[in-house]
């Protein structure tokens, strides 16, 4: 250091004073510098802590959590006693979220509204005065973030308000915080919307609509078959409410051993195990023990990854139909039985009626063989004729009964041989009439032999019976035509014919067009019945005095 020589005392004192003044000045500058450094250090620390805040805020998933974090940092960064943060929607004027509970929130609200220091609430919370507050509204958003740094009222007097610098930092902090709120809130909203959309998928809406309004019982079960939900119709139908059956399997309470056949139940289990659609008719029990019938449709529901999510069971009450069906079946069985009994009865009766007749007939034959006296012969002939009439009637009643009761029973047989035998047999009645058979087509047919026999016998014997009185050159022609799918027979005679007035009645029961002969009025009626039963056609054309043509066609 340079020290000047030869200075006077006064000069030295002056130099000392100057020096002292400079030292003082320097130390004040130094103090200022120190203060500035401290301030800068503090700001730096605030920036650092704000960085920490950003790092932590990035990890936060929902708005309240972010607000709590914000409030904590306000205390930490800005040296106040309480931080408060909230988000409100200015458009709807509602609080979206904050980090406080109950009374404290009311308190903070009052702090925030109007930015005014207020007195303590009555709920025991520490009374706070507002210290500093900042708001940030994100562009294009109705959301506003409000952050308050507060001190208790007792200390409010000793607190220095924020410096301009600190206030600027505070606003910066709040501004940097806002985008997080906006992001998290937007994400949450999108997620909520997605959830809403997922829940309100059209299919589900329809399903739930159907499920709640349908009259069919609906069961929704988990993949193991445990009931998760049933609709009102299910409850109405079975008597079981959801609370009764939640978590149960339907078979645990609707079924009882022996109610359904094993095969049906096995099919159902098999389909469910294979996750297949299945439809079965089941007999179930209501809660009150009453049996009822359902048609159950079970549909497995899969998620997009093809994993089984639910079984949906829809059960339709078919009790009424089933009961009717069972009644009908029982009635049918009863009727079938009665029918068989009746049929047996008819056979027995006919046997009992015919047996003595046949004995009489045999006796008459014997008397005839022994008879020497002419007079007896006439009576015997009459008795014989009466017997044969009676027998004929019984046979016709039997034919009618058989046609009405028995099922059609087609068999393959040689029709030509059959017709020839029949004609030969019947010709014995009237050896004076020439019978001719004209044949076209196959000889073997597939028809109900018994019915066709009755049909032919009736028509041919009519043709023979109703010849002209005293006629010579009487003739009956059978024209038979057998085709692939049908068989027709035309029987024409040149006999007495039928008057026009009778033609539309000849097929009526017990109708007789003539008093002559041994007719019952059943023959053609039975023919008509038989042809109807065999789905064939029957027609009769006749001219009185010229002859009659009867034709039938039968499908085979």
């Amino acid at each position: 250091m340079f020290v000047p020589q030869n200075l006077s005392n006064e000069e030295l004192l002056q130099a000392y004073l100057d020096l002292q003044a400079r030292v003082t000045q320097f130390s004040s500058i130094e103090q200022e510098l120190i203060n500035m450094r401290d301030t800068l250090d503090q700001e730096l620390e605030v920036y650092k802590r704000m960085n920490d805040f950003h790092a932590e805020a990035l990890e936060v998933g929902d708005v309240p959590e972010l607000l709590t974090l914000t409030a904590e940092y306000v205390v930490d960064l800005f040296e106040c006693e309480m931080g408060y943060a909230r988000v409100s929607d200015v458009q709807s004027n509602t609080l979206v979220a904050d980090h406080l509970e109950g009374g404290q929130r009311n308190l903070a609200d009052r702090h925030v509204s109007g930015f005014r220091a207020v007195r303590a609430g009555t709920d025991g919370a520490t009374p706070f005065a507002w210290h500093e507050a900042a708001e940030r509204r994100q562009p294009q958003s109705s959301l506003t973030l409000t952050v308050v740094a507060a001190v208790s009222e007792v200390r409010a007097g000793t607190y220095t308000p924020f410096s301009a610098k600190k206030a600027a930092l505070f606003r910066l902090f709040v501004e940097s915080c806002a985008p997080y709120v906006e992001n998290i809130h937007a994400t949450a909203q999108i997620q909520h919307q997605l959830e809403t959309i997922r829940k309100s998928e059209l299919e589900q809406r329809r399903l739930s609509l159907i499920a709640t309004t349908t009259h069919s019982g609906v069961i929704i079960a988990d993949p193991h078959g445990h009931i998760q939900w049933v609709n009102d119709a299910f409850t109405a139908n079975t008597g079981y409410a959801l609370d009764d059956v939640l978590g149960l399997k339907p078979k645990d309470f609707l079924q009882a051993p022996g109610l359904n056949d094993v095969e049906t139940l096995r099919n159902l289990s098999r389909a469910l195990a294979a996750h297949e659609n299945v439809s079965v008719d089941l007999k179930n029990l209501r809660k009150n023990g009453e049996p009822f019938y359902i048609r159950l449709n079970v549909t497995p529901v899969f998620d997009p990854e093809q994993r089984l999510v639910n079984f949906i069971g829809i059960q339709q009450d078919i009790t009424e139909g089933k009961v009717n069906q069972e009644q009908l079946q029982a009635q049918n069985e009863e009727l079938t039985k009665i029918n068989q009994e009746l049929d047996q009865f008819v056979y027995s009766i006919s046997h009992d009626l015919r047996a003595p007749l046949l004995s009489i007939q045999g006796l008459l034959d014997l008397i005839d063989l022994d008879a020497g006296q002419e007079g007896n012969a006439v009576y015997l002939k009459m008795i014989a004729e009466s017997v044969s009439r009676l027998d004929h009637t019984i046979l016709e009643i039997l034919n009618y009964s058989r046609n009405a009761r028995l099922d059609v029973h087609p068999v393959e047989f040689n029709f030509r041989t059959y017709v020839n035998d029949l004609v030969a047999d019947l010709s014995n009645l009237r050896p004076d009439i020439a019978v001719r058979v004209d044949w076209t087509g196959e000889e073997v047919v597939r028809l109900d032999e018994v019915r066709v026999g009755v049909l032919l016998k009736n028509i041919v014997s009519n043709a023979l019976k109703y010849s002209k009185q005293g006629q010579e050159g009487g003739e009956v022609v059978l024209a038979v035509q057998v085709e692939q799918d049908r068989c027709s027979v035309r029987v024409s005679d040149n006999g007495m014919g039928i008057g026009q007035e009778h033609l539309d009645k000849v097929f009526d029961m017990f109708y007789r067009a003539t008093q002559r002969g041994a007719g019952t009025g059943l023959g053609l009626y039975i023919c008509k019945e038989i042809v109807d039963k065999l789905n064939g056609t029957l027609s009769l054309h006749s001219t009185l005095g010229e002859g009659t043509v009867v034709e039938f066609t039968l499908p085979q």
Partner: protein
Amino acid sequence: MSAMPNYLLIDDDDIIQFVHKNILAKAHPNAHVTAVFSGAEALAFLVDCGDEEWPQMVFLDINMPMQSGFEFLDGLKEAHPDLHAKLVTQSRLFLLTSSVNPRDVAEAEAHGEIERLLSKPLTVQTVEDLEKG
């Protein structure tokens, strides 16, 4: 046909039995006709029957109260196969019926040992036709 044919009639109805007996006698005056009224009686007869009296023709009624004609044949086949075999080989078997029950016809067809189903009453003509073959 031998000069003195043997006939066996099995029928519970005594009048028709009488008629048939006489008809057979008319048709064949030398015939020896045995008439029994049930399957049981027929069995008793056949058990004791020597070759000389063995019937060349058997007329069996279907509709009998204790045992039908078919039941008689089935029972014979099971309990006395030798007699049944002899009946099949040495006799002509005819069923007599007064019914026209298709079930009887079907059952007669199912019994191969039955030659024909004949309607009652038998007539001289029928018996003569049978003898001709």
